[in-house]
């Protein structure tokens, strides 16, 4: 039944002839990573934020991926150009990409632009989708501060960056790489956390079996 998830290994299942944009997930118990896996004509590429820089290359790492139904094959050229613009412009020029909300390095959602240029790989991908799609991709308000489990994280983060904790605490949350991959199962936007929650254990089990 789980094969119905259509989550595939990016390297193995590149026989596809149709263009697609997929949500890529690179497994690692400690430090999983996310990317976009993009097929256009005969080229398979990955686009992601590696913590240091924005990378757009031929598919290199051994991702799992799930095609997103939110981007039509005919829109893949538009998506590619959009990604290349993001890569080229470390800072926004006319506000796209950074559409107002930002992620810090731990996946906290921050409204404060002075801080926001640092984000997780998931935050990066979600921001890319947010800029590309007409509707919001996920309803991030479903993820409360309890989704970040490190104790006192918010407090120490605010101290480190000299932030007013009252101003940013509403934005404190963490969306995981597994949740990002699982979101690929859905196409009605915005995607709710409850939808992802009901599938993510199955997705995890499926991935672990195929490692």
């Amino acid at each position: 039944m789980l094969d119905l998830l259509h989550i595939v290994k990016s390297h193995e299942d590149s026989g596809s002839t149709a263009d697609f944009v997929a949500l890529g997930y690179l497994h690692d118990e400690q430090d999983p990573h996310t990317a976009f896996i993009i097929q256009h004509k005969e080229y398979l590429t990955e686009f992601h934020y590696d913590g240091g820089s924005v990378v757009y290359t031929t598919l290199f790492d051994s991702y799992f991926h799930k095609n997103t139904l939110t981007i039509h094959p005919d829109e893949v050229p538009a998506f590619i150009v959009y990604c290349k613009q993001i890569k080229q412009k470390a800072k926004p020029i006319y506000g796209f990409f950074y559409s107002g909300e930002f992620y810090d390095e731990e996946g906290n959602y921050l409204m404060n632009k002075d801080l926001g240029e640092r984000m997780t790989c998931v935050g990066f991908c979600l921001n890319v989708l947010k800029g590309f799609l007409e509707e919001d991709y996920i309803d991030y308000t479903d993820w409360g501060s309890e989704t970040h489990t490190k104790p006192d994280y918010l407090k120490s983060y605010c101290k480190r960056y000299n932030l007013d904790i009252e101003k940013v605490k509403a934005s404190h949350r963490r969306i995981t790489p597994l949740e990002y991959l699982t979101s690929g199962l859905f196409s009605n936007l915005p995607i709710r956390k409850s939808q992802i929650d009901s599938w993510k254990d199955d997705v995890r089990e499926y991935l672990v079996k195929r490692l």
Binding site: H11, E75, P77, A78, V81, Y94
Partner: protein, 313 residues
């Protein structure tokens, strides 16, 4: 290992069928497949580059060639699978192969193989619609152009205006009543318009023009340069990049004109004949400004065209 395309008749245990024990029917099927594969290959790659092989004792045949040649064949097969090939040798022969691999009583393996990868062709081919030649290209293209002229006539029941170039040379541009009322101020003057032009391939058919916008003097040079490059470029990804570059340039150099330019672009690309990615790119670029008064209405109109096109794409 050399790169190859391989087709084999296989048994339930994935082994190739032995040539020693084939039914006449299976043999017939295998020969059709083998001969069709050969015809596809020689229609794309020089025969001197190709070798054909049959695995000893097995119903497995392969066409082998340098990687780039096999890739060209594979690419053309992929195009044919998606209905995009206009190579008749490929579509006719691939259709024959498709017919055989879809049979319930024989089982095939059809793969692209190089040193690293084996890519399945069987599944997409058997899932594809019946392979056919790509529909003929449309006999016309739509282009956006900046066109200047001497305005000497405007109005009519179906409103239009004329640019007169003397010596009987003139073009007729369709527009709305509202356009006509606004353009009227240029009567008997020179003016420049942004037009949507339907260009027919047949040279004896006249191009058809539809009014998009009157471009202000200080923007004409930028629009003209952008659209000249845009129309010359054939590759969609590069075209879209030109649009981003154009908007960037305006935002850097003419910061008070940015909404005006976005407004023009949103009107200009609001046409179902443009590619879905062209429509989408304008939506992405203008998204941060979607509530702005000069943008809101024209963007909503483009969004509607885009959504209709996406549903039917």
């Amino acid at each position: 290992m050399i790169t190859q395309l391989e087709i084999a008749l296989k048994e339930a245990n994935e082994q190739s069928v032995s040539l020693a024990s084939m039914s006449p029917d299976a043999l017939e099927s295998f020969m059709i497949v083998m001969s069709s594969l050969k015809s596809i290959a020689i229609s794309i790659v020089k025969e001197s580059e190709l070798t054909f092989s049959i695995t000893e004792g097995s119903a497995a045949c392969a066409v082998e060639a340098p990687t780039h040649s096999i890739q060209s064949i594979h690419k053309e097969i992929d195009l044919a699978i998606t209905g995009e090939s206009d190579n008749e040798d490929v579509t006719i022969n691939l259709r024959k192969i498709q017919k055989q691999i879809k049979r319930k009583d024989v089982d095939y393996r059809f793969v692209y193989k190089n040193e690293k990868n084996t890519i399945d062709i069987h599944t997409p081919l058997s899932n594809a619609k019946k392979i056919s030649l790509r529909r003929n290209r449309l006999p016309y293209v739509y282009k956006l152009k900046v066109v200047g002229g001497f305005l000497n006539e405007i109005g009519g029941k179906n409103p239009n205006y004329h640019f007169d170039y003397g010596g009987g040379e003139k073009i007729t541009i369709e527009c709305t009543k509202e356009n006509a009322q606004s353009i009227n101020r240029f009567l008997y003057k020179k003016m420049e318009s942004l037009l949507l032009c339907k260009e027919w391939e047949e040279s004896n058919k006249k191009n058809e023009y539809t009014h998009v916008a009157v471009i202000e003097d200080d923007l004409i040079i930028h629009f003209r340069a952008y659209l000249d490059d845009y129309n010359k470029e054939n590759e969609l990804v590069k075209k879209l990049t030109l649009t981003y570059n154009f908007v960037d340039k305006i935002f850097e150099e003419q910061s008070n004109k940015e909404n005006k330019v976005l407004n023009f672009l949103l009107i200009a690309f609001n046409n179902k004949n443009f590619h879905l990615s062209e429509l989408k790119t304008l939506l992405v670029i203008s998204k941060p400004f979607k509530e702005h008064e000069t943008i809101k209405e024209v963007r909503a109109a483009l969004l509607e065209t885009y959504q209709k096109k996406k549903i039917n794409a």
